[in-house]
């Protein structure tokens, strides 16, 4: 006997869905549609009128070396910061799960970084990594000229990766820890009785069982690294030096709001949206299949 709650009439179901659909339409589809329209026109910032230019905006963006540089910087940023944030969180969660001394304390503390707003965090990191005043000044004292994010693009990229990863370690940690704790203790105890060590248990039991979580975090981290990096870049490097940290999302902001080039920024955000969609589809299509045990 199957018990199921059903609505007698289709309209009632639709009525229940309407508020949610309205929200999604107002805050997602409508602005996205507007962005598509803007990307195909040249908009006067003050609203005096616009001209239909077809795909010209996309052509000029895709033929600009600066834009390709921005895509490359975003991909490098996404790959390294996602890898770093997930690896560190995984190790920390695995250690916390072993209930070493103080693990209850770590469990609370390690979640905090995610609660800090990106600009505040960036301000803190800007101070820590300042070559003349902060922590890195000590390093520079020993090796003069070692650390110079003001002129060296690699140093600047390293700074924003450090700040972003630090924030997402907290986020990833929560999910990893939950995943570890969902693994039946009996499995691990059985393995221990069979004589396998910590590393072996991790490799053969825990790691395979949390792959769905790893996959989930991979998607979220990559997506967020394209979007949530804005505040960090804005405060720490403003896209410099020489465009080394001009990530796609920051370029959209600076072209659109500072440069008042609304159409070019709209076209860039369409490209960014497509890129994230493609990346996510790719991950679901090719990686998700391998992570579930059926």
């Amino acid at each position: 006997m199957e018990k199921r709650v059903t609505f007698s009439r289709r309209t009632i179901g639709i009525l229940f869905a309407v508020p949610q659909l309205l929200l999604i339409f107002t805050f997602f589809y409508w602005p996205a549609g507007q962005a598509v329209y803007w990307s195909l026109t040249l908009q006067q910032p003050w609203g005096g009128g616009n001209i239909w230019v077809g795909l010209d905006n996309f052509r000029s963006i895709l033929s600009s070396a600066d834009y390709w540089n921005s895509i490359a910087a975003s991909l490098v940023f996404a790959a390294i910061s996602t890898g770093l944030a997930m690896f560190v969180a995984l190790v920390l969660a695995a250690l916390t799960d072993r209930q070493l001394t103080g693990s209850r304390f770590y469990r609370v503390v390690l979640i905090w970084p995610y609660g800090i707003a990106a600009p505040a965090l960036a301000l803190a990191f800007r101070f820590i990594l300042a070559p003349e005043a902060g922590f890195m000044a000590v390093v520079n004292q020993a090796w003069p000229g070692f650390w110079d994010p003001g002129l060296d693009g690699v140093d600047a990229m390293a700074s924003i990766i450090a700040a972003f990863s630090w924030k997402y370690v907290g986020y990833n940690f929560i999910f990893f820890l939950a995943a570890f704790q969902a693994i039946p203790r009996s499995l691990i105890e059985a393995a221990a009785m069979d004589g396998s060590g910590v590393i072996r248990r991790f490799r053969d039991i825990q790691f395979p069982l949390i792959t769905p979580t790893i996959f989930f975090l991979l998607v979220i981290n990559i997506t967020e690294s394209f979007q949530d990096s804005f505040g960090i870049v804005d405060i720490m490097t403003s896209g410099g030096p020489a465009n080394a940290t001009n990530l796609m999302v920051y370029k959209i902001y600076s072209d659109g709001f500072k440069g008042l080039d609304y159409s070019g920024a709209a076209a860039q955000s369409i490209i960014l949206m497509l890129l994230i969609i493609v990346l996510t589809i790719f991950q679901f299509r090719f990686i998700e299949r391998r992570v579930h045990y059926r």
């Binding site: 300042a130 410099g240 500072k258």
Partner: protein, 450 residues
Amino acid sequence: MSMIKHGLAALAAGTISVSLALPAIAAPTKFDFWFGLSGDLERVVQTLCKNFNESQKDYEVVCTSQGNYDATLQNTIAAFRAGKQPAIVQVYDVGTATMMLSGAYKPADKLMEENGYKIDYSDYFPGIARYYATSKGEMLSFPFNSSTALMYWNKDAFAKIGKTEAPKTWEDVGADLKALKDAGYECPMAINISGNESWQLMEQFSAIHNQPIATKNNGYDGLDGRLEMNKTKFVQYVTDLKKWYDEGLIKIKSKDLGQDMVQAFASGTCQVILSSVGDHGTVGKTQKEGMSWDVAELPTYAGTERKNSLVGGASLWVLSGKSDAEYKGAAAFLNFIHDPKTALFWSTNTGYIPVTKSGFDYMKANGFYDKAPYKGREVAIASLTASEPTDITRGIRLGNFTQIRAEFGTQMQAIFANKVSVQEGIDTLVKNGDAILDRFQQTYPNKTLP
């Protein structure tokens, strides 16, 4: 009974409506003023607004800081598109071309005339007025907070190398920086190379040397003006700055690195900086105890006939689509700001300079420039009025100039990091800047600058 009830109700209603109506009659007309200054300067603007509101009873200005110039322009555009724009908005110098083509303003000179105020526009310093006026000389906006770039120099350090005066030519600067280095100063001169420093390093330098930034008289004569600083003395200047940087005579100082230029100078770490006269007060307030310093006009290359430097800062635009009553208030407010007494209040409390000759004279007569903390600021006026503005030193009228400034920062960083040569970097600046100008021109087809 019911009659009494009705009567009471009517009476009550009458009382309410009278009590509602009374303050409505007496209430002054409110209008909004949005500005882009924050911190200490925001408080000074708020005091200015309060002074205006207390000076008369007909109008009340509501002043709101939007944080910075960029945000002010962005928020105003958003508000304008939604029909909720303020009556007056402060727009920074390089936003002038964008404003002129916006079709969103009411010309300031017309507004004043319609409301019966007589403003003598020839009273404005020509260097300031021309920057904001149309090519025909009409004032579309009111110059407000104004400054220009000066050289700050540490007298104590220069005394050590036997100098009692600031260097006047860049050749002398080179020699003095070398001498300062030899005398043991780690940081003879500080610069920064972000988009913001386009102002003193490129724009002011070019004006003083009468070198164009762009064709068509820096864009005044048409939207088809294109950049050409890759063919002017500016290339020589960047080459020298880079050489001095490589020799350790110039250090880069910015907030991101730990200490900005002004702090570096005020603390005595660096001996020379090029910065706005607006920082005169900050240096005075934050300087190392007992440090002796002064300001001088920006140096020129030997054999240059010095021209006026450019004004920096912002002007006040009156936006279209407001009621006549609000325009009356806006006109009264602009008239209040134009008053020489306000100029004295404004310059005393900020580092900005007076924008009119009468304001300057009034301040001189009050002995403003004789007193210790303000002494030296008259150099800014001398720099601004060094010559009658030429077709090139009127100012810069290029669309989306903020982005060109950002591009300046990008290319300077590439040059100083040895990624490209000086000429390559400036050529790229011209190429990318021209693409920005192309786009601006395409966005406004069939439109011309007034």
